[in-house]
Structure formats: structure tokens, C-alpha cells
């Protein structure tokens, strides 16, 4: 072991999704920064790793991969005996147990991610990049996200975590986008929903996530 490399800036939501998973699994890794402001993600060398020119890319001695959620699933399968062993369902649970995690991981990528990504860009990154915010886009996506969180509120009243009683990849996948919305102090829609607020408090205070957030303020690796 010791050959895991993640490419991308740690503050990227998709990159930090992978970092959170590596921390949960206690898998050592090297982080190689990709300077997106300088267009490094579109360089010919980087496109060999990630042909869509997006971050992150991932390598270990057996595979080169992209798509953060696919990378997370691989880390859970490949390093099955390390760290948190119930991220894809409790072991021995079979396809039915994993299916619950997959269902909510798909809900995250298809229902939560689109509106929350727009909000993350508008609220957290546009100001940082000196770009104007778009109030109409913010309002539209806040409304969409509110409807998604209504579904989560009902679900989290029945179940401690999204896929069941254990923290899983489905919960983890939400951490990066939600973190930035909270950091921009636009978290009313989370705070005003009792079960969502309880769930967020639990998942965002996990030591593995704190380690990722600490990386945001550290100097980017060379």
C-alpha cells in the first residue's frame, strides 16, 4: 500500500468527497494539486488521467479512475478490511443492504447535487473568484433544494442515516456541498428542519470530515 494518489485542489467538492472516503477508510494517500485557475485541468498530461478535464482523478497501483462517487465505491471495495467497513452496507448484508446505500447515493447525485452545486458556486466560489452572483439562480435552486430537503426530513425521521442505522457513503457524499452552504451562512433550510439538522450535526462532526476541512485552509501541496 501507500500508492494512492488523488489529483485536484482539496477545496473542490468532488475532490473532498474522495478525501472524506479515504479518511473514513484509514487509507493513506498523496494529494497532488491541480491549479485550475491556471487551466492545469485542461492540460494534455491531465487529460490522460481525466479525459473530461474535471477533478478529481485517482490512482493506485491497480487502477486510474475518475468520477468521485465511483472512486469512493472502489476505495470501499478494494480496501474492504480497513477503517469503516459499513460504508456500502454492513458486511454480510448482501446486494439488498448495498442497494439501500446505492439508492440514496443516486438520490444525492441526481436530486441533491444539481441544486446544491449551483448554490455552492454562487454562494462560496463566485465571490472568491470575483464573479457576480445571480440572484435568480440562487432563488430557483434554493427552492429546488428545499423540496429535496423536505424528502430528507421525512426519511430522517424514520432512520438515523439516509440508508439505515449506519453512516454510509450515501451520507458522506453530501458533506462537501452542504459544508460550503453552511460556511456561506445560507444554512437556514437545513437548520429549520429538525431531522435534517440532527443528521447534519452528526455527519459533519465526524473526525474524518474534520480532517478534510482542515486541508482547505492548509497551503496547497506543490
Amino acid at each position: 500500500m501507500g500508492s494512492v494518489t488523488v489529483y485536484g485542489p482539496p477545496i473542490s467538492t468532488a475532490v473532498s468527497r474522495v478525501l472524506a472516503c479515504l479518511q473514513e477508510k484509514d487509507v493513506d494517500f498523496k494529494l497532488v494539486n491541480v491549479d485550475m485557475a491556471k487551466g492545469q485541468h485542461k492540460s494534455p498530461d491531465y487529460l490522460k488521467l481525466q479525459p473530461f478535464g474535471q477533478v478529481p482523478a485517482f490512482q493506485d497501483e491497480h487502477a486510474t479512475l475518475f468520477e468521485s462517487r465511483a472512486i469512493c465505491r472502489y476505495i470501499c471495495d478494494k480496501y474492504a478490511n480497513r477503517g469503516n467497513q459499513s460504508l456500502l452496507g454492513r458486511s454480510g448484508g448482501g446486494p439488498a443492504e448495498r442497494a439501500q446505500v446505492e439508492q440514496w447515493l443516486e438520490a444525492e447525485s441526481q436530486s441533491f447535487n444539481p441544486p446544491s452545486s449551483v448554490l455552492v458556486f454562487q454562494l462560496a466560489f463566485a465571490p472568491r473568484m470575483g464573479l457576480p452572483q445571480d440572484p435568480a439562480a440562487i432563488e430557483l435552486n434554493q427552492a429546488k433544494l428545499a423540496r429535496v430537503l423536505d424528502v430528507y426530513e421525512r426519511r430522517l425521521g424514520e432512520s438515523r442515516f439516509l440508508a439505515g442505522d449506519e453512516f454510509s457513503l450515501a451520507d458522506l457524499a453530501h458533506l462537501p456541498n452542504a459544508h460550503h452552504i453552511f460556511a456561506a451562512r445560507k444554512d437556514d433550510m437545513f437548520a429549520s428542519r429538525k431531522n435534517v439538522a440532527r443528521w447534519w450535526e452528526e455527519i459533519s462532526t465526524r473526525p474524518s470530515w474534520k480532517k478534510v476541512v482542515d486541508m482547505y485552509s492548509a497551503a496547497p501541496p506543490a
Partner: protein
């Protein structure tokens, strides 16, 4: 007890699930959900699929929604029959997962507005957003250029065998090619075209198409 698929036969996401069941030779019953009268937004439906979308399945005690989660479940549960749709090692599976997520996150966001604006809205007699469709066509074309590079190296997206990663593309792409006048998006890319012809020639896909056309509700292999 037969797997029950709740959805409308013509809709993309239920077709993904039914195609997978047919690839695996697993019998199912399609229970029609009347999208046109908003059945999927009514309380009884929302109890089963809280986002108000189709499909969901019932397999014995298990109820599951999100078509890509459902096909992953079916491919794992029925790993012992039909084609291998998930790869055989963690590395092979990782490639399948990678291209499954590419479809979900890089391909579908452009495929959906194309089909919605150029096929679904006209059928309902509603005005389409031509600008949105046009922008999506340009984005999808760029994504397909990346597919062209990959498919010049491997016969299918995740390697040399047909997997879930290819399967999930088929229903929406069929509508784009056959009903939206956009076959050139694939035809002008040699390897994408060959891939498309290969995967749509699969007997299970042909069976699914005819099942939809003839208003089928029960499938047995």
C-alpha cells in the same frame, strides 16, 4: 414472487430497469403508473418513491428506487445468470462504476433536456425551449467526443465486455437518435457509431423495444 416494476413503459428510467431484467432473464410485471394524470405526484405513490419519480421496484421484501441503483442491485443479485454486467474484479467493477457515473453526471444532464424539449413537450402540445435544447446538443456532442476516444481503445465503455455502463445509456440515446433528428451526433463518430449499433442489436434490447411497442405488462424469459 415476480419482480414488480412500477412506471410508464415509454419512460427512459423504467426502460433501463426492464432492459436489465431482460438481459438477466428475470421475469417481471410492469405496473403502469399514469404519469399523464400525475399519478406519480399523489400521496400513495410518494409513500413508495418520495421524489415523485419513476420507476421503483418491489422484489419480495425489498422496495427500491433510482434506476441506476436498481440495475446495480439486479446485476449483483443475479450475477450467476446472463451476461456479467459489473466486471469480475474490484478494478473492473471500478471502471463500470466510473462510466455509470459519467452517464449519470456528464451525459444525462444534456440528454434529458434534449429528449424533454424535442420529444416530450411536443407530444404534450406544449412549447419547447429551443435554446435549452440547442445548448444541450452542443454539450452532448463534446461529451461524445470523449466517448469516441475511449471507444477507440475499448470495445465497450468499461472494457471489452458489455456492462451496466453501456446499458444505462441506451433508452435516452435511442430517443435522441430516432425521435429528435440527432443521429448525426453519433453517426459522425466512427467508434461511437459502431458501439451504438452493437449495443442496440442486443436481443434483450430488441425484446424490450417490442415489449414497449406492444404494450406488454408481463415478461418471462
Amino acid at each position: 414472487m415476480v419482480v414488480k416494476v412500477y412506471g410508464k413503459a415509454q419512460a427512459v428510467c423504467p426502460q433501463r430497469v426492464m432492459h436489465c431484467l431482460m438481459e438477466k432473464g428475470v421475469p417481471f410485471e410492469l405496473v403502469h403508473v399514469d404519469i399523464d394524470t400525475m399519478e406519480h405526484k399523489r400521496p400513495e405513490f410518494l409513500q413508495k418513491q418520495p421524489f415523485g419519480q419513476v420507476p421503483y421496484i418491489v422484489d419480495g421484501d425489498l422496495e427500491l428506487f433510482e434506476s441506476r441503483a436498481i440495475v446495480r442491485y439486479l446485476a449483483a443479485k443475479y450475477a450467476d445468470r446472463g451476461p456479467n454486467l459489473l466486471g469480475r474484479t474490484p478494478e473492473e467493477r471500478a471502471k463500470v462504476e466510473q462510466w455509470l457515473d459519467v452517464e449519470a453526471i456528464n451525459y444525462n444532464p444534456w440528454a434529458f433536456p434534449i429528449v424533454f424539449n424535442l420529444l416530450v413537450l411536443p407530444i404534450r402540445g406544449l412549447p419547447a425551449n429551443e435554446a435549452e435544447a440547442g445548448a444541450a446538443v452542443d454539450k452532448l456532442n463534446k461529451v461524445l467526443e470523449v466517448y469516441e476516444k475511449q471507444l477507440s481503445k475499448t470495445k465497450y465503455l468499461a472494457g471489452d465486455e458489455f456492462t451496466l455502463a453501456d446499458l444505462t445509456h441506451i433508452p435516452a440515446t435511442r430517443y435522441i437518435v430516432e425521435n429528435c433528428g440527432l443521429s448525426h451526433l453519433l453517426d459522425d463518430k466512427k467508434h461511437v457509431k459502431a458501439w451504438w449499433e452493437d449495443i442496440t442489436a442486443r436481443p434483450a434490447w430488441k425484446k424490450l423495444s417490442s415489449f414497449v411497442e406492444t404494450g406488454g405488462s408481463n415478461y418471462s424469459p
